[in-house]
Structure formats: C-alpha cells, structure tokens
C-alpha cells in the first residue's frame, strides 16, 4: 500500500487547493478516480484530514518563500519598498 500513484495523489493534495477541497468533500470518490487501490482508498478515507490541510498550507508557504528567494535582489527590494 505504497505506490507511485498514491504519492502523486498526496503531492496533488499538497499543491492544489481545488484538489484538496474535492478530496475533503468526497475522499473515497477522489481516491478512486485517481486510480488508487481499494486499500489505499480506504486508508485515505480514514486519514488525518486536519493534518493534510495544515501540511498543504505549510507547503504553500514554503513554495512562496522559494519563489521570493529566487527573485533578483533588486526585485525583492522594490517589492519591499512598494509592499508588493
């Protein structure tokens, strides 16, 4: 019960708020539509959904930090100056 499809499904939940909302509304259906095994679908239905949401928010913040970090220094300074 640990497949590439399951990791891909989790990666999508962590990066796509619409996918996470669909999962929240219908966990079994979303897991089934992603082609996961019966055991994986069952495990996801029983999963720590609060933790999934918290992790998704945390990863989103990290991605935003990385994007900021990759900007040229003068862009970052202008952003700070004009609070963009």
């Amino acid at each position: 019960m640990s497949s590439a499809a399951l990791e891909t499904f989790l990666a999508r939940l962590y990066t796509d708020s619409a996918a996470l909302a669909r999962f929240d509304a219908d966990p079994a259906g979303e897991a089934r539509r992603a082609g996961l095994s019966v055991q994986e679908c069952d495990a996801l239905v029983r999963s720590d959904t609060i933790g999934l949401r918290m992790a998704a928010v945390g990863f989103g913040r990290k991605r935003a930090q990385h994007r900021e970090h990759r900007k040229p220094l003068h862009h970052r300074l202008l952003d700070r100056l004009f609070r963009r």
Binding site: S2, A4, E7, A11, A43, S47, F59, H66
Partner: protein, 289 residues
Amino acid sequence: MNRGDRVGIGWRAPLAASIYSHLDRIDLIELVADDHFRASRRQLRALRTLAGQVPMTLHGVTAGLASISPPEERRLARMARLVEAVQPVSWSEHLAFVRAGGIEIGHLAAPPRTEAGVEAASRNIRRAAMIVGAMPAMENIATLVDPPASTLDEARWVSGILEESGAPLLLDLHNLYANAVNFGTEPAVLLLRMPLHRVTTVHLSGGHWIPEPGSSGRQRLLDDHVHDVPPEVFALLTALAARAPQPLDVILERDGAFPAFPCLLAQLDAARAALAAGRRQAMQLREVA
C-alpha cells in the same frame, strides 16, 4: 563531553561573518548543498578553502530519497560534483519525498510508512551513495500530518530503512519532539525506539504552536527553524548522549529571525552542557553496573 563530540551551526549567509569570526567556539559547520549546486569553480574553491578551516558537512534538501520512485540522477550528480569539489567530512539528506508524478511539493513531505516504502527508500539511498561516492546520513523529518496509508510507525520505518541501506542516522531532535507531541507519543519514548546506535549527527532547532483548523482549540507544533531550541529538546540531547556512546556531531539550525549572535553561541554552549550531562549519566550507569 567526551573527546569526539562536536558542536556547530548551519552556515547561512546572514550569519557568515559572525560564524567566521567565532570559529574558536564552533567545531563544525553545515552547508545546505542545494544552494551551491550551480556554484562556479571560483566559488567551489572558496568552499573548499572554508572546509579546510573548519570541518564541513553538506546537507541536501531536494533529492527525495524516501520516495517510492527512484531519485533524479541529475540531482545526485550535482551532489557528487559538490562533494568532490568541497571534500566535506560527510553529507546528508532527508527521509522524505519532495515530488511525485511531475508535481514539486516545494518542501519535505512524509511518505506513507510501509514495507514497500522501506525497500524503495533503501534502494534509493544505496543508489545515492554509489553516485556520490559516500553514504549519506539520513534525517528524520517533521510532519504536520500523520502520513496517510502508513502501516509502520515512525521508529520502525526509520529503523527498517537504515538497517536495509546501511545509512547512518541524522537525528533531528526537534523533528522527533514535534512528531511525538503532535501525534500523542511521549518524546523520550520515541527517542528510545529510534536506532540510536546509528546516530552520527544531531540537529537542534525550534518551532512554534499553530492552531488546527476548525473549532477544536487544539494546536500542533510546527518545526520552523526560526525560534530558539526549547529546553525539552536539550533534555532529549542529554538522553541521547547517555545512551549513544559514539561521538556525535550536533548542529544548530537557524533559518531566519536571527537573534544577536551571542544568543546562538549560548545555544551551542547549552548543547555542549546537555551532551556533557548525558555523558556523565552514562558514566554513572556504567559505574553502578
């Protein structure tokens, strides 16, 4: 503190000048390897010079070696180039997956902890060791979510991977502490269930409590590297030093909200004191036995 223990700090650009001027109080430094994958030859020479002045370890963050899928070889090749150029005393990576199906998560995610995952991670680690030319120490990560579809608990999963791959453990004590308090385990109990004989390196850091969504009023501890090391984590370091007789390299990780440098030096001193207390406890236990 026994003769082999070393205490150091993660190299960060805003801290560079202060670290450099306090090398008499810093036994080793840790560089985030991925920040230097595109370094020029001149920059690599500068890193090699630095590694000649103070023991240096390289820390990778994007290989995703605990994925069910194989790691990207080009990333491992970059690590190999850096290790070859800088000649660190060791290198390390995380027990995490960071991408899947072409989706970049952007940070370290906990994969499902399963027997199949143990096998895949062990294979990935051995492959990384072959390409880089040295076995990485593997770090336990903090997670806000109990990894879905897991069939093993964290300690069994970590132990399985390290036994099968032969990798040493980089034990992040704040990650361990956060996972324990977030998922209802006593931190000291979780520590004792980890493969402590495999620990070569220790990370210390801090975090803060964040509320769970909804109206439960509950909180989870977020490992953020921008707060001081809490006393509970120093206590875990003492407990570790009492039970792991091998020399330990202890690294303080601080990524932001940098306090005045003496505050960081004080945390290094506290780590040394915690190690010494643990070593004393071990000696007393041996005397009693």
